[in-house]
């Protein structure tokens, strides 16, 4: 079996007296889509903050391609909860942000992202400002900004949480299609069971704070997934919900 792209072993984190992460172990192999599912306030985002380097862990190991994650190495492309598009930058200049931070000139960076606008359903909006886009388009621009960084893994923090139900459903299916084509390595944080089952190869269910992994679910279905009404999908969803509501059984 190949080395996991990312492996967490007994990772712990506390803020003063507040234990947020009690014991988190998980792994993501290259090309896998893995989700962390848990109740609100369980510390899901804390896991990502440990990975982006915004926080330092109190114990346990974080391994990237088998080696410990070095502080300040910025190995992951991160997509925050809300789209975090800069209102003062045009859409194209928002999507090149990561490349510009890496030191590419604006011209080179623009040339790199331009061909992707069509696939992300944003062509014609390159020179608009974010305020002129719909919620779904903003989220697609944010994802485009994330993938053009060409990091070895994407970290998505509840990317569709702020969207209305209809747009969220639409965006989940769109992401499923995009992922099937590109097979990025993804770690997704979500509290939406259907979203997790639709997209993931594997789902880790977190307990309430202090968080530990209650159970891991493998989703052995081909991508793209059959509709939510399909019996296998419904069975997994029911099982996850049961785990979320009665974690001790």
């Amino acid at each position: 079996m190949s080395t996991p792209r990312l492996e967490l072993r007994h990772v712990r984190k506390r803020f003063g007296d507040l234990a947020v992460l009690a014991d988190i172990s998980l792994s993501v192999r290259p090309g896998e889509f893995v989700s962390i599912l848990g109740p609100s306030g369980a510390g899901k985002s804390t896991v990502l903050q440990l990975l982006t380097g915004a926080l330092a862990g109190d114990g346990g190991d974080i391994l990237v391609d088998g080696a410990p994650l070095a502080p300040g190495s910025h190995r992951f492309a991160f997509m925050p909860q809300r789209d975090a598009l800069m209102p003062w930058r045009r859409v194209i200049d928002n999507t090149t942000l990561g490349l510009e931070v890496e030191g590419l000139s604006r011209k080179t960076a623009r040339a790199r992202v331009e061909p992707l606008f069509l696939e992300f359903g944003l062509s014609g909006f390159e020179f608009h400002y974010p305020a002129q886009l719909s919620g779904g388009m903003r989220q697609r621009a944010a994802l485009l900004r994330t993938v053009v960084q060409e990091r070895s893994m994407l970290l998505l923090d509840e990317p569709f949480g702020a969207l209305d139900a209809l747009t969220r459903r639409e965006m989940q299916h769109w992401l499923a299609g995009m992922w099937t084509r590109h097979r990025w390595t993804v770690l997704l944080i979500t509290h939406d069971v259907r979203e997790a089952v639709l997209l993931s190869d594997r789902i880790y269910v977190l307990s309430a704070r202090p968080a530990r992994i209650v159970r891991r679910f493998d989703v052995p279905l081909a991508h793209p997934r059959p509709s939510a009404a399909a019996p296998q999908v419904a069975a997994i969803e029911a099982d996850i919900l049961k785990t979320l509501f009665h974690p001790e059984e």
């Binding site: 300040g72 991160f78 975090a84 003062w88 942000l97 990561g98 002129q132 388009m137």
Partner: protein, 244 residues
Amino acid sequence: MLSVTALFLGWEAYVQLSGISPTALPAPSRILVQGIEQREALAEHSLATLQATTFGFACSLSAAFLFSVLVDFFRPLRRALFPVFIITQTLPLVAIAPLIVLWFGFGLTPKIVLVALVTFFPMLVALAQGYEATDRDIEALLASMGASRVRIFLSARLPSALPYFFAGLRISITYAVVGAIFAEYAGAAKGLGIYILNAKNNFRPDLVLAAVGVSATLTLTLFGATVLVQRAAMPWARLAESKP
């Protein structure tokens, strides 16, 4: 606009009907006629005031920007400096203006100092608050990309402060004109302040009010200019309405 017109018409009518002496309350028509007659002197003095205002404000803006950056990068400085700056805001202008003229003479310098004194702190506070208003998600995103602190400041904190900066600018520019006139009033060779003082001493309230009218026009013009600059500098701010 309508209420202002009504006010002036009422004023004019009262002066004409009551027969009050023009040295006590001149009619708006008299102020206008005398103002036009004195237009060359008024223009000359206005120019001096405009010069003092813009120079003083430019100095204060540069200093406020410089200090805002310093304070943003070195937090302890904020605690050390802000009390001093707050004290400068509590000084009564009436007392401080003659002293500054005494120290710096009748030239441009005391006006610049006084204008800067009045406008520096509001601008500093506006900028500092603007930096603090930066979206935490945007900062976290930049940090995850490996952006340095300087980079985060330039790409996120500085543009986030723009609306606050312009709000501060609109208020400060009006203070700046008042500050300049105050400094001139305390002693100057030229300027609307000294013009007002001389007109008062010559029992010419019509000329005092003409000068007041000119200074109000000056302030409104500068205020309008900042609004135009803001529109040009922040084209995205008025776009939220036109979604596809």
